[in-house]
Amino acid sequence: MSQRNWRKILFGASTRDLVGRTLLLVFAIITSFVIVLIFSQVWARAFPAIIILGPELLGPVWDPTVTEQYGILVFIAGTLWVTGLSLLIAIPIGIAGSLFLAEYCPHRLKEPLRLILILMAGIPSIVYGLWALYTLVPFLRDLISPLYIPVWDSLTNSFVWISMEWYSGYGVLPAAIVLAIMLLPTIVAVSYDSMVMVPDTLREASYALGASRTETSIKVVLMTALPGVGAAVLLSLGRAVGETMAVLLVTGNNTTFPRWIFDQSYVLTSVIANQLGLAVGGYPLMESALFVVALVLLLLSMFFSITAKMVVSWGMRKQGLR
């Protein structure tokens, strides 16, 4: 075989194609491998604590330095309170907002509103946290402290645990409010998308039957778009559970059990942010317990994003859109 042929085989277009394809396949494998790597690393670090502590991990007391108790239940409770309350605020408002944007909004307002939502989603969470810390917390303190004493003093006889002389402003409530504000763009955008996908023929059929705009938008559009709205709720749940910085600054980070919305709390993400840097220095068991917290977070977020995807594809199949 001549010199020329060899060169063609080694450096020719089809060789370049083969090499390039293999390289790109490696890239594709690397991008999918990232999540596997993260999961396995977190699992490997969490494993010692799961073996050593076992059911102790579900205890209610977190005191790794003095009494060496590693109960993460208090953080789960904090996350449940903050996430639950924020979704309670954000979901109805978000769905109503997306209904407005999809069905009622004048065309001229649509683009500016969507831009505002995109920018709102773009504001870094630390800036939300800063705003909550310097504005929302003092505001809530000044708003609720004076109301609190006359209203609740009479009840403290029956509910001793809600007695509180002075409300600091920190706790579940400001965290839930700022989290709700941060979740709104996601909820509105995702459910808006599913409402826009509802075919116009359905609307026209509804109008032809004499339905008003409200009846059409609620009974036809919202009901048809319900899987998308469900996906929006699940996605925002994942976001809410994983949100770190804004919540960290305003929950008060107190390891007592939160019992109602004016109590201070400590959420799953905050404890990692606050204590992991310290633990990696010289507290191996505490570090491992913190990675158990990370594992819980990782599993929760994976569960929510996978379920959201399943709900969307189920809804699309049901409606015959795909």
Binding site: E103, L117, S125, G242, V280, F304
Partner: protein, 312 residues
């Protein structure tokens, strides 16, 4: 979609009394939903106003162009340059990786090699599924998990440094860039590829010289969205970058960043000067994010890609 009237027609219909209970309810719902829409956008203006009203007092060229001296004096040049360094290096890692992976899934696995053996086709189908699935899962992973992962994986190798922080951010950029690149590659008409292949080009040169060029604006949109997202992230940098009062270019040096600086200010306490400096830093950060986002939205309109609040 098709039912919204123009503003003038809407207004005109308001001046007559409702004819029935149903029409009254209809109008009531409209007012109610409009009020909700105002409530949703109100926090945006409140936050931007709050940040700008407090932060502009300290904002001057010296504040941007000098390094920090302690926490209460000097400017924030180290944080600005640090953020830019982190995002630049993260992009340099993430962009080739994601664009490459996206080209593989859309050009090779999906379209190319139609004559390939059955099992190769099956395998490619699975590669597409796995890449998309893992990207979607990765998009939902909390940012603090990336920080914890960066601490045990990158910091263990590099120490708390520029490169450890940048690699952690690169991981966070993967889902956004990968998915938008895929989307814009798929939007390129098949006829362009066919024309190139008919001229005897390989899939490789078709992908690079034809498809990628046609999809470039969409890919840039995705990159800008990813940059706008990670430049404001604090949690992945908490354990990975350390802090520095200067902005060195050494890969192994500790580095400051805008969000991390704001976080430190928020922890420092409630003295007036710290509060104002935090807000001024926030103005710079929000300014960068908004400019990047607006360019991304503008670019997306050019190519017909839909940008959605809240990313992928």
């Amino acid at each position: 979609m098709g039912t919204s009237k123009s503003i003038t027609r809407e207004l005109r219909s308001w001046f007559r009394l409702p004819k029935s209970r149903r029409e009254f309810l209809d109008r009531l719902t409209f007012v109610f939903l409009a009020v909700i829409a105002v409530i949703i956008t109100l926090p945006f203006f409140a936050i931007v106003f709050e940040v700008v009203a407090n932060g502009w007092i300290l904002l001057n060229p010296a504040f941007i162009l000098t390094n920090m001296v302690g926490f209460a004096e000097g400017g924030i040049r180290n944080a600005i340059v640090g953020s830019i360094e982190l995002v630049a290096i993260a992009s340099m890692v993430a962009i080739p990786l994601c664009v490459g992976a996206a080209i593989y899934t859309t050009e090779y696995a999906q379209r190319g090699r139609r004559r390939a053996r059955r099992w190769v086709q099956e395998l490619n189908k699975w590669v597409i599924r796995i890449v998309e699935f893992t990207a979607d899962v990765l998009a939902g992973v909390p940012s603090i998990i990336f920080g914890a992962f960066g601490l045990i994986f990158f910091v263990a190798v590099f120490g708390r440094s520029l490169i450890a922080g940048a690699l952690t951010l690169a991981l966070m950029m993967i889902p956004t860039i990968l998915r938008t690149t895929q989307e814009s590659l798929r939007a390129v008409p098949l006829s362009l590829r066919e024309a190139s292949l008919a001229l005897g080009a390989t899939t490789w040169s078709t992908s690079w010289r034809v498809v990628l060029r046609a999809a470039l604006a969409g890919i840039i949109t995705g990159i800008l969205l990813a940059i706008g997202r990670v430049i404001g992230e604090t949690a992945p940098l908490l354990f990975t970058t350390g802090f520095n009062f200067d902005a060195p270019w050494g890969f192994l040096d500790a580095i400051a960043s805008l969000p991390f600086t704001i976080y430190l200010y928020a922890l420092q306490g409630h003295t007036e000067i710290i509060r104002l400096r935090a807000y001024s830093t926030a103005i710079v950060l929000i300014g960068i994010v908004f400019v990047v986002d607006v360019i991304a939205v503008w670019a997306s309109k050019k190519v017909g890609l839909v940008v959605r609040a809240g990313g992928v």
